[in-house]
């Protein structure tokens, strides 16, 4: 079966003024559909950059990136945006909820952007599963970190993305809340075969994944 994600000699160079930062120096990564992969590595080794490229937030500099059969090198900005809209769900360390909206509207705006209309059944199922059904009328400031992250996960998966990309989802949470969030990610993976790529610093968090990918200096150094 064709892998969901396949990169070959993927490179990313940031130009800051005259300085070139080689964030990725040739990454070869293959992820199968339904896998739960953890990406670990020291700070600054290019983990977030890899995630951003796979989610189409930023274009690669060179190399090949195939995600669900789409070649990112050949796609325009708008095409990557459309791809992201339909195929990718992001979860960030800082939750990144819209502060002026309630939890409900934060989730629904993802459905709105996707444009497939409101699916009440899916909405009820997701909020139920993440244990936030009774907190939907609250705004982010009135939610704990763990609750905010669960709302963010709900928002990420409400449109049934092919891939869930999580950048240190437990980085701001205490161990109890981390455990809840990790359990939910694992449930998502086990129950719905949700493909997940999760960056983490925490070895315990990495342990819930099927596979651990280690990075250093813009390269993968073992899995």
């Amino acid at each position: 079966m064709e892998p969901l994600i396949a990169t070959q000699d993927l490179k990313k160079v940031y130009r800051v003024g005259k300085v070139e930062v080689h964030a990725l120096r040739g990454v070869d990564l293959v992820v199968q559909e339904g896998e739960f992969v953890a990406v670990v590595g020291p700070s600054g080794c290019g983990k977030s950059t890899l995630l951003h490229i796979l989610g189409g937030l930023t274009p690669p500099t060179s190399g090949r990136v195939l995600v669900d059969g789409n070649d990112f090198m050949a796609m325009s900005d708008a095409e990557r945006t459309r791809f992201r809209r339909h195929k990718i769900g992001f979860v960030f360390q800082r939750y990144n909820l819209l502060p002026t909206l309630t939890a409900r509207d934060n989730i629904r705006i993802a459905q709105h952007i996707q444009g497939n209309g409101f699916n009440p059944h899916r909405f009820a199922m997701v909020t139920e599963m993440l244990g936030i059904a009774d907190k939907l009328n609250r705004k982010p400031y009135a939610l704990s970190g763990g609750e905010q992250q669960r709302v963010a996960i709900a928002r990420a998966i409400i449109c049934e993305p092919k891939i869930l990309l999580a950048d240190e989802p437990t980085g701001n949470l205490d161990s109890e809340n981390s455990q809840i969030v990790l359990n939910m990610l694992r449930t998502l993976n086990r129950t719905f075969r949700q493909t997940i790529l999760m960056i983490t610093h925490n070895p315990e968090a990495a342990a819930v994944a099927d596979r651990i990918v280690r990075m250093r200096d813009g390269r993968i150094v073992g899995s």
Partner: protein, 362 residues
């Protein structure tokens, strides 16, 4: 989300709404007051009771203010034309009371009476001497003028009569006095012509045009339609300038408001992008927010203008403000266009933000 964003920054929202309201109000009031002034003036001109008015070549057709008045002698030649019943010369003297412009009529009483059918004297009677003045009842009431008192209009006059309003002006002085004051001996600003029957108006106009080829000759009816039309021909430059200023204010405030908004919400725009929002989606969000601010501002502006018009009219009865729905719509359309234009650049910038940078923005 748009409503929430707007409510999230109440002061910014309020200032934007206020700016649009002022913009709309300014356009409506300026146009309304101009209309009011003209309509009111036109009604008084109509009230003179003449059929034709004749002004010097190139006269600014409303108000008829001209630096080159016509020789009074022309009146005699006009009076000899067929179907003409009477002709009266008037010399305008512009004056203002408490900031309200007024045109004092210098009139020749005998011919004036023939054209207009004479004043209705509520108190007192006609001129007895060169320094007498007649005042209409509205002016007398607003300025607390009593019969017999002295009234200074560039020089001292004695109020000898209070007349019913509606005939040309609110203040009348003898023609010879007006000519002396203006240094325009034997000159007139306008001739009012009364036909033996209104049906002869067109033929009288034709013969006047023959007699005085370059002069501005209008039937009172034509004058009325010109002055009271929605598109003020004579004042366009003035009004256009004021409208342009008002629209600029609205444009700039919305521009600034939306510009600061996108800077403040850079991260939120990044979040929308991470969710897959297209450029068009983000532009739409910003434009809709601007449109919402603008629509509330328009409603506030229209309501405010109606209230302001009431207040103005009750505190200055000599000023009338004629608000027309057409100009309300025009003001609203201008405000909306200005707001969308002002929001467009910020919206465009927001749409072009790099999602990774925007997400990293503090």
């Amino acid at each position: 989300m748009i409503v929430e964003n707007v409510l999230h920054r109440p002061i910014r929202t309020l200032v934007s709404i206020l700016a649009v309201a002022i913009e709309v109000g300014m356009v409506m009031l300026v146009v309304g007051m101009t209309h009011g002034l003209l309509n009111e003036y036109a009604k008084r001109v109509e009230g003179v009771g003449a059929d034709v008015m004749i002004q010097p070549p190139n006269a600014s057709f409303f108000f008829g203010l001209s630096s080159a008045p016509m020789p009074v002698k022309i009146a005699d030649r006009l009076a000899e034309l067929p179907h003409v019943l009477a002709v009266t010369p008037v010399l305008f003297q512009s004056y203002s009371t408490g900031g309200v412009p007024i045109i004092v009529y210098g009139i020749d009483m005998p011919s004036w009476n023939r054209v207009t059918g004479g004043f209705v004297y509520l108190q007192g009677g006609p001129f007895r001497g060169p320094n007498d003045i007649l005042v209409d009842d509205i002016y007398a009431r607003d300025n607390h003028i009593r019969l017999g008192q002295t009234l200074n209009v560039y020089q001292d006059f004695q109020v000898v009569g209070i007349v019913e309003h509606g005939k040309g002006s609110r203040l009348f002085i003898p023609l010879a006095t007006a000519q002396d004051m203006a240094g325009a001996h034997d000159k007139a600003s306008i001739f009012y012509v009364k036909c033996v029957d209104p049906a002869y108006t067109d033929s009288v106009i034709a013969s006047v045009r023959q007699l005085l080829p370059n002069y501005t000759v209008l039937s009172i009816k034509q004058f009325m339609t010109l002055v009271t039309s929605n598109d003020l021909p004579a004042l366009t430059a003035f009004i256009t300038a004021l409208i342009a200023v008002a629209v600029c204010i609205g444009f700039l405030v919305i521009f600034l408001s939306m510009y600061t908004t996108i800077t403040e919400r850079t991260r939120e725009i990044g979040i929308l992008k991470s969710l897959g929002a297209s450029k068009a989606y983000i532009i739409q969000v910003i434009l809709r927010e601007a449109a919402l601010l603008c629509l509330v501002g328009i409603v506030a502006g229209i309501v405010g203008t109606i209230v302001a018009a009431r207040v103005i009219q009750s505190s200055f009865p000599t000023i009338s403000v004629d608000l027309t729905p057409l100009w309300g719509l025009r003001a609203a359309a201008l405000a909306l266009a200005g707001a969308l234009l002002g929001a467009f650049y910020p919206a465009f910038r927001a749409a072009r933000l790099d999602p990774v940078d925007a997400l990293a923005y503090e």
